[in-house]
């Protein structure tokens, strides 16, 4: 116990640095995947058949294979094919992870958006048309908020999963919190053979997800004024 107290400040410092990397990957993924998902969802709903088929096949591949494999392919593939990697150093690993995460999550988001858009009854658009509204007025003043209301619960689920999925970036040695915790097992800063830092990382995830749950729940409640 005394030993742990002694190790505590050193470990927390390392874990904090790792967690910042975790948060960076989380926010960058969210920022990229939220708009990209919308573009993909429009693609899969396109009336131009070749486009919608192509997009659906891509979504099928991305959702049908493990994110970990996608990470490994994106990180190692350029090096294996061109002889030298385009992902250099910690920044390179971060970019590779961001690309894999954004693409993967955009595909999941696109399906949620599609459900949200198609879930708004056709009669809403027709009512707008009959009242002389333009298509963009109908989208922004009538459909959009109803769509957002529909997608908040499934999006909350995905967002919370994303927080935990960032740990997969450990596989390409991105120095996020799991990597930081694990380093004390092998030996770092005079501490070795300590397993508790790895376990302790769970506390970070738990607290951060707790905050997100409250925020997203608040948003859901805010949209509760209509049905």
């Amino acid at each position: 116990m005394e030993l742990i107290l002694e190790q505590f400040p050193i470990v927390i410092h390392s874990l904090n640095i790792g967690f910042i990397q975790t948060l960076k990957l989380f926010f960058v993924t969210l920022l990229g995947a939220v708009p990209l998902g919308l573009i993909i969802s429009f693609g899969s709903m396109s009336r131009f058949r070749p486009l919608s088929y192509l997009v659906k096949i891509i979504v099928w591949i991305i959702r049908g294979t493990p994110l970990m494999i996608q990470l490994l392919i994106i990180y190692y593939f350029p090096g294996l094919v061109f002889g030298n990697s385009i992902w250099i150093g910690e920044t390179g690993r971060f970019l590779a992870a961001a690309v894999a995460f954004i693409f993967n999550y955009a595909c999941y988001f696109s399906e949620i958006y599609r459900g949200g858009i198609q879930g708004v009854p056709r009669g809403q658009e027709e009512a707008g048309l009959v009242l002389g509204m333009t298509r963009s007025q109908i989208f922004f003043k009538v459909t959009l908020l109803q769509m957002i209301k529909r997608i908040v619960p499934p999006m909350s689920n995905e967002i919370i999963t994303l927080v935990k999925d960032t740990s997969l970036a450990r596989i390409i040695a991105l120095q996020e919190i799991i990597w930081a915790g694990q380093s004390f097992l092998k030996g770092s800063q005079g501490i070795s053979g300590a397993i508790w830092p790895l376990f302790f990382t769970a506390v970070y995830y738990l607290i951060f997800n707790g905050i997100l749950t409250v925020l997203l729940g608040g948003l859901e409640k805010k949209l509760d004024y209509f049905r």
């Binding site: 809403q124 002389g132 509204m133 007025q137 003043k141 009538v142 004024y225």
Partner: protein, 261 residues
Amino acid sequence: MAILEVEHLHKNFERTEVLKDISFSLEKGQVLSIIGSSGSGKTTLLRCLNFLERPDKGVIRVNGETLFDAENPVTTQEAEIRRKRLHFGLVFQSFNLFPQYTALGNVMLAKELLAKAQPDYKARKKEIHAEIEREAKSLLDQMGLSDRMNNYPHQLSGGQCQRVAIARALALKPVILCFDEPTSALDPELTGEVLKVIRGLADQETTMIIVTHEMAFARDVSSHVIFMDDGHILEQGTPERVFEHPEEERTKQFLSRFTRG
């Protein structure tokens, strides 16, 4: 002169012909009821008048102005249609109120969006808004909803929702107000309050087209009745003529189900 003239309207869905050569006219202040069994094309006809469906052939004229002519592509352009649509109002069977707006908000929304396109909107913003709100409140009052203006649709009964929808359609002052089975989604107790409102509009000589299954109401409120069957107008005339002395065997058969109770 007739306020509405429909000539030789045809509409196909894939290979099914839903409207087969529909022609009729309507005078100002008249109430036209369209009756007939499900699938006879009544709703499609109403949707064509409101440009929710594009007829394959035919002409639609309001006050002598050609709103739609299948032969003349200029009349079928989107921007043109949006302006012409405003000649018609449509009340849906399923209300289709906007759930995120209050009753008052539903009635005001389209009017406010239209007002924004006015050149003097920025200068007279407050004035215009107040005017729209005053009119909307007076319409809801007329519908017997003065104490429900700030309620959201999910807080209202079906009958109240439909009355809000009627006020919403009236807010744009359409030349012709159309109803697509306005009481079919309501239970019998709530049907009465909606029919009473429509009755009131008829008394004020609002020009209306009503697609309905309420035979007693159609007979009572209309100045003209059309019986549709399989995409055709099989019979038309005054309510007395169509309901008391139908000539066609199919009309008699259809109406007998209602008179026998």
